[in-house]
């Protein structure tokens, strides 16, 4: 990582950069411990038992923090913790001495925990939370070299794409909840028929698939994955081979019993998976960066995995899925680590330069060869078995011909890529000068590739081990019934699958032989095709432009506009409420009123008119006073002396205060123009609506229970004869306390506002 070292230099190797340096082995040890803790569960789960353990987390929402350990989640958990331990060991050495290597180890470990939580979750909401946590931790990991703009962009792109998918997933889960009535996986998985018959099935499927496809980088949302290779190699090895990108596939497998078995499921998975697989293999052929090539083969593998989940019932397809899942995780993690070791040992990952490394890096070459042969699907490696089962599974599918075609094409391309990545750099003659003289890596770097690739060979020679421990329980879990898994055999006799395998090898050899020519041709072609990556940038730019546009409209910077929008919304709300309640005709009675009542009403009316119409500050102030006094008179007339006194005193204070300030302010200028007509219409609308609502309120009989309670308890229990005051200082004293606090704060805030010294703008004062 050139950027990482450059960054360390730029920051001037501070002691803080070395923090946690000596502890980077701890995550690896912890991961190994988790792996060891999960190991004893294998026989139990293989025997068909499902382990559950949980505590209530948010009981009111039916969310439990619970763990579900069945064949599927155990297989994933073992892969995650096992490969995790090896990758973290690798990372500890790989990142040694680099900027914030301790932080890197921490991120990696956090990611592993999130991933484990995701696969072990027994509740859709818990699953979602961990799903998002993997997005966030992967954001930190991809953007680890944050001094580099490319890293930042890649990280953000991955976060946004998977984050959007996550939101869709949440919506999908909530819809599932509305259908099934529970977030519990056990309930959801048992309700497959209810879900499939529900009218919400299609929206649920679309939303869940959106989540899974973004996470697992299915075409056309795949572009973030190759970009994410900006991350340090251990991240690519871990997130982008064995774990995070598999989360989407995991989700599809997990929900397979609940959602699979319909035509929509079949077609969408077949098409997306198949297109992704073929497209990615072709793209892989184009790459000259070994890591990029591996990234595209990962895409291809993901496409294949999705393809094999398409069918609802075929045991062969699901057996193929599980076998390929395990196989791919093993060899792909090994290969990423090999590439990391090559990078570490030579300083470059360019396929055009590298060659003949086997002499200088024999151990790496050995691991690469084993893993590469597994990837190419040659016997006796586990990759061969997986491919055989895949072909058999493909033949069983309803869309067998299509699937077989997709599988054949992508496997042949994979074969060629395996040659490019695993053979060419190590054999033959050096093709160019490497930045660093090639040298073998230390044991921490080699442990991972060796263990993983040897495991690939071992499981290939002894397929029953893999079958019993990982594949069969997984198949049972995905299909939701026991004893369905097909046998994994190294030699199954001469059959269609074998013929297809041979065809794959032949096709693959040809592709490998001509790959340099093909690469140039594809590059010329690729330059002309529209790039989805650039499309994403345009999409983001468009989003920003949209945001800017609507901000300009809504946030015009004119206070009057804000007020107008607020009042218009109020009017719309009131109007909608009025229409919704559809009031009957309200009887307006001409009441018999005392003279003084008419007088008060006219007084208030007159005062209001004066305030509205005048352009003189003093006249307006007088009008306000008149209104205030009129309101006080209303209070006193209808039996509220306390309120009337308060109103009167406040009115006097208002007039005094406003008078103090207002004479220093410029005089009012008449306002005209079309705008004021609009304002007047809005004002009349709101006034009218308030009146109508008020009349409706008065039409409903008043519930006086609370008032009566205060009336009868005021003296016997609170020893007060003024009920209003008793309510204020006794019954509702806490409210009153809050209110006087507001008054105190208003006073002090105004004080602070007035006393803060700033230079007045005298020359503009009118």
């Amino acid at each position: 990582m050139g950027s990482a070292t450059g960054e360390a230099a730029a920051h001037g190797a501070k002691p803080a950069n070395r923090r946690g340096q000596g502890l980077t082995w701890v995550p690896a040890a912890l991961a190994a411990a988790i792996f060891a803790a999960l190991w004893p569960a294998i026989p139990t789960v293989a025997a068909g038992e499902v382990l559950r353990w949980g505590v209530a987390w948010v009981p009111s929402l039916g969310v439990n923090f619970s763990v579900l350990l069945d064949g599927l989640s155990l297989t994933f958990a073992l892969l995650i913790s096992g490969i995790g331990a090896l990758v973290m060991l690798f990372a500890a050495k790989y990142m040694e001495g680099k900027y914030h290597s301790g932080r890197f180890a921490l991120y990696l470990f956090l990611f592993m925990l999130a991933m484990l939580g995701l696969v072990l979750a027994d509740n859709l909401l818990t699953l979602f939370v961990f799903w998002e946590l993997t997005s966030i931790t992967s954001y930190l990991l991809i953007g680890f070299g944050h001094a580099d703009a490319k890293s930042r962009r890649s990280a953000l792109q991955a976060l946004l794409v998977t984050g959007m998918g996550g939101l869709a997933l949440l919506a999908g889960f909530i819809l599932i909840y509305t259908v099934v009535g529970s977030f519990d996986l056990a309930v959801v998985l048992a309700s497959g028929d209810v879900l499939r018959d529900s009218p919400l099935y299609l929206p649920i499927l679309i939303l869940v698939l959106a989540g899974a496809f973004t996470k697992s980088a299915q075409f056309p949302l795949h572009f973030w994955l190759p970009n994410a290779m900006a991350a340090p190699t251990p991240v690519s090895a871990y997130l982008h081979s064995a774990t995070m990108v598999k989360a989407g596939v995991f989700l599809l497998a997990r929900l397979h019993p609940a959602l699979a078995g319909t035509d929509v499921w079949l077609w969408s998975l077949t098409l997306f998976g198949g297109v992704t697989a073929v497209f990615a293999s072709v793209m892989a052929l184009r790459q000259t960066d070994l890591k990029q090539a591996l990234a595209y083969t990962t895409l291809m593998a993901l496409g294949t995995l999705v393809l094999f989940l398409a069918d609802g019932t075929s045991a062969y397809a699901i057996t193929g899925f599980m076998a390929f899942l395990v196989t791919h995780s093993l060899y792909k993690a090994a290969l990423f680590l090999v590439v990391g070791t090559v990078d570490h040992g030579t300083g470059t990952r360019d396929a055009r330069i590298l060659g003949g490394l086997a002499r200088a890096m024999p151990v790496t070459a050995f691991a690469a060869a084993l893993a590469g042969l597994s990837m190419a699907g040659l016997p006796p490696f586990v990759g061969f078995i997986a491919k055989e089962v895949l072909y058999k599974g493909a033949g069983e599918l309803p869309l067998g011909t299509i699937v077989t075609g997709f599988a054949l094409a992508s496997n042949a391309l994979m074969f060629a890529v395996a040659g490019i990545v695993c053979l060419r750099p190590f054999w033959g003659r050096p093709r160019g000068e490497t930045p660093v003289p090639p040298h073998e890596g230390p044991w921490q770097l080699l442990a991972g590739p060796i263990i993983l690739s040897v495991l690939g060979l071992a499981l290939g020679l002894m397929p029953w081990l893999k079958q019993q421990a990982l594949v069969s329980p997984g198949v049972d879990a995905v299909l939701g019934r026991g004893g369905e898994a097909r046998d994994l055999k190294l030699w199954a006799g001469v059959n269609l699958a074998l013929v297809l395998s041979l065809a794959t090898f032949a096709l693959g050899l040809m592709l490998y032989a001509f790959h340099v020519v093909l690469r140039d041709g594809l590059n010329r072609l690729g330059a002309r095709l529209p790039s989805l990556d650039a499309g994403w940038d345009r999409f983001l730019d468009g989003l920003k432009a949209l945001a800017a546009w609507q901000t300009r409209i809504l946030q015009s910077g004119r206070l009057v506009n804000y007020m107008a929008v607020t009042f218009a919304t109020l009017l719309a709300g009131l109007g909608a409420a009025l229409i919704a309640t559809a009031p009957g005709p309200i009887m307006l009675e001409m009441p018999y009123l005392l003279v003084k009542e008419w007088g008060i009403a006219l007084l208030v009316l007159a005062g209001t008119g004066v305030v509205v119409s005048t352009n003189s500050r003093i006249t307006a102030l007088a009008g306000l006073g008149v209104v205030g006094v009129g309101v006080a008179l209303i209070f006193v007339t209808y039996g509220a002396p306390d309120v009337a006194i308060t109103q009167l005193l406040v009115e006097v204070l208002v007039v005094v205060l406003v008078a103090l300030a207002i004479l220093k302010l410029p005089s009012l200028e008449p306002e005209t123009g079309r705008r004021r007509w609009f304002d007047a219409a809005l004002a009349l609308g709101i006034g009218g609506a308030v009146t109508v609502i008020m009349l409706m309120v008065l039409d409903v009989p008043l519930d006086r229970r609370l008032s009566e309670y205060f009336e009868v308890t005021s003296w016997p229990e609170a020893f007060g004869r003024n009920i209003v005051n008793v309510i204020l200082v006794d019954f509702r004293a806490l409210d009153t306390f809050g209110e006087i606090a507001v008054v105190a704060v208003a006073g002090i805030a105004a004080f602070a506002l007035l006393k803060t010294k700033i230079a007045p703008a005298k020359e503009d004062a009118r």
């Binding site: 306390d642 204070l653 103090l660 003024n722 204020l728 004293a733 105190a744 006073g747 002090i748 004080f751």
Partner: protein, 139 residues
């Protein structure tokens, strides 16, 4: 605006309004009045003095800074409310002590409710005067 008549009249009025404000405060529990009204009346007295003689003189007459008065009032009201907790009641439950109570008469009632109302009185008066003084001095 300085006028001898207004000034001397104001002094008299201030005293009168202050006494009246305390009267309004104390009678509030049984008759129209109470902390809000008392505080407003009290503030009114000092506002008159401010207009007549300026904030300097009003501040001197008030002795304490009005924002301190408001905060003290808030504290008193809070304590009156917390007082109930000592007796195991819910916060802000009124506590009463009747001095010299007989069968017919309840004697002289002392209560946390009255203390609370005094707090209200001080807050209202203090907050309003904080404002008026600031506005008068800055405007």
């Amino acid at each position: 605006m300085k006028s001898v008549i207004v000034e001397s009249g104001a002094r008299f009025l201030v005293a009168l309004l202050l006494v009246f404000s305390v009267y309004m405060l104390l009678r509030g529990h049984n008759l129209p009045g109470g902390g809000f009204i008392g505080g407003l009346v009290g503030a009114m007295g000092f506002v008159i003095q401010t207009i007549a003689c300026g904030t300097e003189s009003a501040r001197k007459a008030l002795r304490a800074d009005p924002s301190n008065i408001a905060m003290a009032g808030l504290g008193i009201a809070l304590l009156a409310g917390l007082f109930a907790a000592l007796f195991g009641d819910a916060l802000f439950t009124g506590q009463w002590l009747f001095i010299g109570a007989t069968e017919e008469s309840k004697g002289l009632p002392l209560s946390s409710v009255l203390v609370f109302d005094i707090g209200v009185y001080l807050v209202v008066m203090g907050a309003i005067l904080t404002l008026v003084f600031a506005l008068e001095e800055e405007a």
